[in-house]
């Protein structure tokens, strides 16, 4: 009785309030750091919400413009990369390529599946920080060979076997940083290919060992061209940080193609602080890069490939409308293969995570058998089935992009233009330099409305 009376008569109390600054996830990370003494390492790209293609809409045609018939009228998707200097440019059926992902970060069957799916869809795939495997070359009709600071497995024979060479200066997940591959994934074969002791934590260099800056890069590109008889397109890949200058300097150094990777672009493993706090959102990268190409008079002559968070045909169409010649996908391709599939939920739970959140790719325990070197786990991925899924997904994205292009009255994806777009938010309007929906204005725009 007395107790109850006390409760009823007590004054109202403050409801417990979580700090927005010191949120539970932040506090958990502080405790984790305090306990372990090492930063968090994970795979994937930025998870925070940033202005993205979702914040843009297409205008479509009606009376002032005329649409094309969805299934009947031609809407071309082909793209040729490397038309500036290379004797043998790459011709792709669709403007969606597979981004560089290493054997080592990915299992052999996963690399094979990427090659199969890309080849069936008529596009290219790309090696990664670990050299070229015969399986990968065998299953990819068009293969881009990455030339990375580590030079793991680099050799002139594979260079000549490649259809293009991508000089990797940086990537969106970690611009200014080098690759990481932790000991769990340095298997016998990975160790041999990289010439490293088995089981060590490998941290690649952030700069190339034998050149620094665009003036040296020009000479490096000359050497690569001389070794490959000026046949191969030379791409230069940069992380999105200073896209105007980096694009301009890649062009000055002699690139055929510029690959620009925004902060949503993934990585096999790096510090979480790098992924979430360094680099520009993909949306913010494209217009400055295109501006650089236009200022130098080489837009479309030097092709621009954009990557980082491309998921749908709408994303493809929006990137191209902003001036890209093609896009590259990494994370999306892995999901198409089977990464983070709900059918593995019970196993994700055992790893302390859940479907859609699994990003500890560096630990090599991937239930889907993709980001692992464990023979048992990787046997779970059938490269033929997974390759077919990737092909289907690439085809769907292409159809979606065509649907949008036709609706905007274009007979070629490359004819999409910024004027086909409007923005839903001020941020997206500013970054994409397209009008806020229903207006003729974007932040920073000067001059007359039309």
């Amino acid at each position: 009785m007395t107790v109850k009376d006390n409760k009823e008569n007590a004054p109202p109390r403050t409801v417990p309030i979580q700090s927005a600054t010191f949120s539970n996830p932040i506090n958990a990370e502080i405790r984790r750091a305090a306990a372990t003494g090492i930063y968090d390492i994970r795979g994937g790209g930025a998870k925070r919400r940033v202005p993205h293609f979702d914040d843009l809409l297409f205008l479509g045609a009606s009376i002032s413009r005329y649409p094309l018939e969805g299934y009947r009228e031609r809407c071309d998707t082909r793209v040729t990369l490397g038309t500036r200097f290379a004797k043998k440019p790459i011709e792709l059926d669709i403007p969606i390529t597979i981004a560089g992902m290493s054997f080592g970060a990915l299992s052999g069957p996963a690399k094979e599946a990427l090659g199969r799916g890309a080849s069936e869809a008529g596009t290219s795939t790309t090696t990664g920080d670990g050299g070229m495997t015969p399986e990968e070359r065998g299953h990819s009709t068009k293969l881009v060979y990455q030339y990375l600071p580590s030079r793991y497995g680099m050799n002139p024979d594979d260079l000549r076997k490649a259809d293009a060479i991508e000089v990797v200066v940086g990537q969106g997940a970690k611009p200014g940083g080098g690759g990481m591959l932790l000991g769990q994934k340095i298997s016998d074969r990975v160790a041999e290919m990289r010439n490293l002791p088995k089981g060590i934590d490998q941290r690649s260099a952030c700069r190339h060992p034998d050149w620094t800056g665009p003036d040296d890069l020009e000479i490096k590109i000359l050497e690569l061209r001389e070794i490959t008889a000026w046949e191969k397109p030379i791409y230069v890949k940069v992380g999105g940080t200073r896209p105007y200058y980096d694009t301009a300097l890649a062009v000055k150094a002699g690139a055929d193609v510029v690959v620009l990777d925004g902060m949503q672009g993934g990585t096999a493993a790096t510090q979480d602080v790098f992924i979430e706090h360094v680099g520009l959102p993909t949306l913010a990268c494209i217009r400055p890069a295109v501006q650089a190409l236009q200022d130098l008079g080489v837009h479309r002559e030097v092709q621009l490939i954009v990557s980082g968070g491309i998921r749908t045909g709408a994303d493809v169409a929006k990137a191209m409308a902003l001036g890209a010649d093609a896009v590259a996908i990494g994370t999306a391709a892995l999901i198409a293969l089977g990464d983070n599939d709900p059918k593995w939920e019970a196993e994700y739970q055992k790893l302390g995570t859940t479907t859609g959140a699994y990003d500890d790719w560096h630990e090599g325990l991937d239930p889907a058998g993709i980001t692992t070197q464990d023979p048992v786990l990787q046997a779970r991925l059938d490269p033929v089935d997974a390759g077919r899924r990737l092909r289907n997904y690439l085809n769907v994205m292409t159809l979606e992009a065509q649907t949008i292009a036709r609706a905007c009255g274009h007979n070629n994806l490359h004819n999409l233009e910024p004027e086909d777009l409007c923005a839903l938010t001020m941020e997206a309007a500013a970054m994409a330099r397209v009008p806020l929906a229903g207006t003729e204005w974007w932040p920073g725009k000067t001059g007359a409305g039309f």
């Binding site: 700069r207 800056g213 665009p214 003036d215 040296d216 200058y245 300097l249």
Partner: protein, 309 residues
């Protein structure tokens, strides 16, 4: 990101060829810097005359009566000798620095490239071959010179963004690399009253040296101090009235080759810039060490070579 060349003559008999040699070196570095080119050339200082090199986008108009305009300000005879968009004002000894500050008022469209007793700086946008030709650098004589070809990284491709930068009376600096703290340093130097014209990182380095020397440091000391205060990647080559210095950052990634014979000391971003120098086959050729200041002066002795400080 750029190409640098420098030539410091010990043998007076080569002085008549300085312009020819430097022009050849500069053009060889075109691939490293196709955007703009410039040259600083040091002649024999006169006890009676100082020099201000000026540039104008509209030299026909701006240079026509410049000498007459300047004369009352310096209180003595003034002569003007023009080379394309540049002109050298010869003024009474010791009046150049004050004139540099005053020129803005009498000739606002004219920009000062350099001032001093022996230094002239010529620089423009364009390929090194074309820049060298329009100023006829090959015809110039002198005791030492520094040239630069620029591949712009982040700041604008303009005449003022071209190197060399004049850092103080008879002082100049060229740079290959990319500084990473130049914005903060520019703000600090401006608060200290140092005039900085552009957003170029190299100009900040030049202004930093000027500031250090204004506050009592020798050039050698200022260069030593720059190793602490400048962040990023750099090779600097500097010139003074009778000296020539080189310093590289501690990481020292950007290329640098030096050659020395009894006749000269030469600097090139690449060896091929040096291949036409007389006697290069017998020269001592080496790469400067990181974080080490090298300095040569004409001085009294024939070969006072060595590290400063």
């Amino acid at each position: 990101m750029c190409g640098i060349v420098g030539l410091f003559l010990k043998d007076k008999s080569l002085e008549s060829q300085l312009g020819v040699l430097l022009t050849d070196m500069l053009i060889t570095m075109t691939d490293r810097g196709p955007d703009s080119a410039g040259i600083a050339i040091y002649g024999e200082p006169s006890p009676t005359v100082s020099k201000v090199t000026v540039q104008s986008e509209n030299p026909d108009r701006d240079f026509a009566d410049l000498a007459e305009k300047v004369q009352p300000m310096v209180g003595g005879p003034v002569s003007l000798s023009r080379r394309d968009t540049h002109a050298v004002l010869s003024v009474p000894h010791g009046t150049a620095e004050a004139l540099r500050r005053q020129l803005r008022e009498v000739a606002p469209d004219v920009r000062v490239m350099s001032f001093g007793d022996s230094l002239e700086i010529y620089k423009e946008v364009g390929l090194p071959r074309d820049v060298a030709a329009r100023f006829d650098i090959a015809s110039m004589t002198g005791t030492h010179g520094i040239g630069h070809t620029r591949m712009a990284t982040e700041s604008a491709v303009t005449t003022l963004g071209a190197h060399p930068f004049n850092t103080g009376s008879d002082q100049c600096l060229v740079h290959n690399g990319s500084l990473s703290n130049h914005n903060s340093l520019r703000r600090k130097l401006r608060r200290e009253g140092i005039h900085i014209e552009t957003l170029n990182d190299t100009e900040v380095a030049a202004a930093y040296l000027t500031w250090k020397m204004q506050t009592g440091a020798t050039l050698g000391e200022a260069l030593e101090k720059s190793l602490e205060d400048l962040d990023g990647f750099f090779n600097f080559v500097v010139g003074t009235r009778d000296g020539f210095g080189v310093v590289r950052d501690p990481i020292a990634c950007k290329p640098a080759v030096m050659a020395e014979t009894d006749q000269y000391v030469a600097f090139g971003s690449e060896y091929r810039a040096l291949v036409n120098l007389p006697g290069i086959e017998q020269a001592r050729v080496w790469e400067p060490e990181p974080a080490t200041v090298y300095f040569w002066t004409h001085g009294d002795t024939a070969t006072p070579t060595g590290k400063a400080a």
